[in-house]
Symmetry: C2
Subunit: 222 residues, 2 copies
């Protein structure tokens, strides 16, 4: 299995690449600068034991084309729509997993949602209904992903309008030993993306006993 991670040279993308590779999945990092992506891929491969998935790097469109089916978008929100425009053709027949949170300019404790309501909805509107968009992995910090000695141990809320696409993404995330839940249609991205700045706020505050908060679905009878 081979997935692409666009924006794969950022901290979130690199952490995801290492996690998926450790699960035996090949990863193509995408970047506007394909040479830079290839360089980062080599650095990440050097961190791995020999039995794991291979990490390579390419331009965003080439990386998208190389993915079997799943393409993860992990760019800053400022590059969200432009990146999608650039890979639109290569996405046909594939699933876009949007993990982007539209944080407010200069304030990571707030969202500044686009007119569509959320990044995931903006992606679905831009790509049209023939390309399924799934929102996921918004609430796991880059620090948690890159802390390879520790299990991720936070839950993932997955939303989108295609149940089939969501189930594939839930299976992919399960390969990281992480629980992912079907959290409903794409409109729920307005809530799920907005959880991230609340977690960032808690991390910044001095009132919590941890540094890289995520969420867990929990119940007294759990």
């Amino acid at each position: 299995m081979k997935i692409a991670i666009l924006g794969g040279t950022g901290p979130q993308g690199k952490g995801l690449a290492l996690r998926f590779a450790a699960a035996g999945i090949d990863v193509v990092l995408g970047s506007r600068d394909g040479a830079r992506a290839a360089e980062i891929a080599e650095e990440l491969n050097a961190k791995q034991a020999s039995v794991e998935g291979q990490i390579s790097g390419a331009g965003n469109a080439e990386a998208t084309a190389a993915a079997d089916e799943i393409v993860i978008l992990a760019v800053p929100f400022s590059a969200h729509n432009a990146t999608l425009e650039a890979i639109r053709e290569q996405l046909v027949g594939k699933i876009l997993v949007d993990i982007v949170v539209p944080l407010a300019d200069g304030d990571p404790k707030a969202v500044d949602m686009p007119a569509e309501g959320s990044a995931t909805e903006a992606a679905q509107a831009l790509l049209g209904d023939e390309i399924p968009v799934v929102g996921a992995l918004h609430n796991v910090s880059a620090a948690t992903l890159n802390n390879l000695g520790h299990a991720i141990n936070c839950d993932i809320l997955v939303c989108g309008n295609s149940l089939e696409a969501k189930e594939k993404v839930i299976d992919l995330i399960a390969s990281l030993d992480v629980k992912a839940y079907n959290a409903g249609p794409v409109v729920n991205a307005r809530c799920i993306e907005a959880i991230t700045p609340i977690l960032i706020r808690l991390n910044i505050s001095k009132k919590v006993p941890f540094t890289h908060a995520g969420i867990k679905i929990w119940a007294p009878d759990h």
Copy 2:
């Protein structure tokens, strides 16, 4: 200490009344029908051991006037604004805790937010800045609250524009042995209220190992 719970004759309100009374806090249940509230209060008192806070019942305005400082609004969203109009005068000098989630008509798996963005924002707009509104306790199910033999064991996200009011509400919630976190300004109610239908969706689905999900703030180093 005496608090009011408006809509206190519903399952959420009754569960909260029993929990706060068990913590030694007096509770006045408010209802449009004061006699009915008094009747329910007697039923709830009969469930209690002798050392706990007393539960009484009254009309909504009378209950609001009787509260020392904190008034919890637990009515269905359809009665949200009308109830606030009716108690506005009595709320001066007090704190309104809005726990209402604007669930979509006929679909508890979706929100139908008011034009203000969320119930909590609608309350703050209606009451004006002189009465602090705090959003809290949205994500704890009535079943969890009423399952008195079990700890609540889910976390509470608290939002609002007055830090002083939020801190008082966080202290009140702490009396239930529940962790409550300052989750930022009132605008974050758009996210926090919308978590509830996602949890309802998980509860309805057959894919989760529990029945009354809440959330916990969690981290690998927790």
